[in-house]
Assembly symmetry: C2
DNA sequence: TGACAATTTGACCATACAGTCAATAACGTA
DNA sequence: TACGTTATTGACTGTATGGTCAAATTGTCA
């Protein structure tokens, strides 16, 4: 019997994600959100509770979606697990070198968080762990394939790749170009065995 | 004949760096700066020109100081060039895992910048290039020592280490602990030849 | 068709913000 | 000791911000 909502929650969060992605949490105004989502202020409050709460929602959604994307990229088809990681790292390098690529909500959250207790940090931490978990999974496959030595520390290796990806994101943001970022990715991949042609061959 | 300033510019910038380091550019208020530096608003304006300009000054100073610190760390004494890089990476891992470690002004600037044209980006980019240059220098020494193959791409390797450091900073910020970050650093160092004990040995 | 319950709307508010202004103070010089 | 130049002080301003309120609206069920 209550009046139904005029909006779809997913769409609103998606619009919010976009504007938060451009400005960050602190620099995004409520009016920005009103404009981006099309809802009135009060509706935003009814549905989400405030700017920060909406950001938290957007952050969670964004983390989940990023995880899904990575997960899918690393399960893709016919290549070997190591090849898939390789491909993913190189794709990320290219992605981050795009001049219009925006910094992830996760990185924004980390930088804007006030400490490790902050929800912004804890949510992002969970995202990082999940990301690493997906990588670890793929590395396990590689190990089962015999492409990785028995004694390799997969968990640590996975976290290492997450760190490199985060670092490449920042470098791309600073304007480091496609060739340089690709070279970084190739260097990073040298910790994995195999592929003699993994040596970077840039200027 | 003019009235002399009551403050020392360096000290003011140093205080500003501290408060910007805690809050970032957008979230730091002029009053925060007034409180932290002890100057009046007008004096801040006379001397620096505004919040953003002061941030740019703080950022430049901070980049320079960071570069000096890295440069010194990589020239330190009796160890071989590769050992020095190794030591530095491990020290950074520990530093970033400290729960009270703050995110660098450089990373803040990158995240708060509005695009590659933004001064925030260009200054930070310069800092990154300088950082990489210092690493490259050390790698050259290693190459001269014969610790690195002739065909190694030093420039790219240097940028790779900068990326890993940036990534470790973010992970530390997210609460990834000392052991895990150290393991990441050790993994990262595996791209360098030598030292069989470079395998991480964590849980 | 009428009434309920939540949603929407748009006006409203207190606060905090970056930046400015005019008056005053302090120093070196002559 | 008087002057000129610059630094300092603190009050001031216009705007924009996050958030709230009360009234009007809307779909649904009985």
């Amino acid at each position: 019997m209550p009046r139904p909502r005029k909006f779809v929650e997913r769409d609103v969060i998606s619009s919010a994600t976009e504007v938060f992605g451009v400005n960050g949490l602190a620099a995004t105004t409520l009016d920005d959100l009103v404009r981006a989502t099309g809802l009135g202020k009060q509706s935003l409050y009814n549905a989400f509770g405030g700017k920060r709460e909406l950001f938290l929602r957007a952050l969670s959604e964004d983390s989940d979606e990023a995880a899904r994307a990575v997960s899918e990229a690393l399960q893709h088809g016919d290549a070997s697990p190591l090849e898939r990681i390789r491909g993913h790292m190189l794709r990320m390098a290219i992605e981050f070198s795009r001049s219009d690529s925006r910094v992830s909500l996760a990185t924004r959250a980390l930088v804007e968080s006030t400490g490790e207790q902050d929800q912004l940090s804890t949510i992002t931490r969970a995202g990082i762990e999940e990301h690493a978990g997906i990588y670890a999974h793929c590395l396990e496959d590689a190990q089962r394939n015999g492409d990785l030595p028995e004694d390799a520390n997969l968990r640590s290796l996975a976290m290492y790749f997450v760190a490199v990806i985060r670092g490449m994101e920042l470098l791309g943001r600073a304007g480091v170009g496609r060739a340089a970022l690709t070279a970084v990715a190739l260097d990073a991949l040298r910790v994995l065995p195999g592929r003699a042609d993994a040596d970077p061959a840039q200027t």
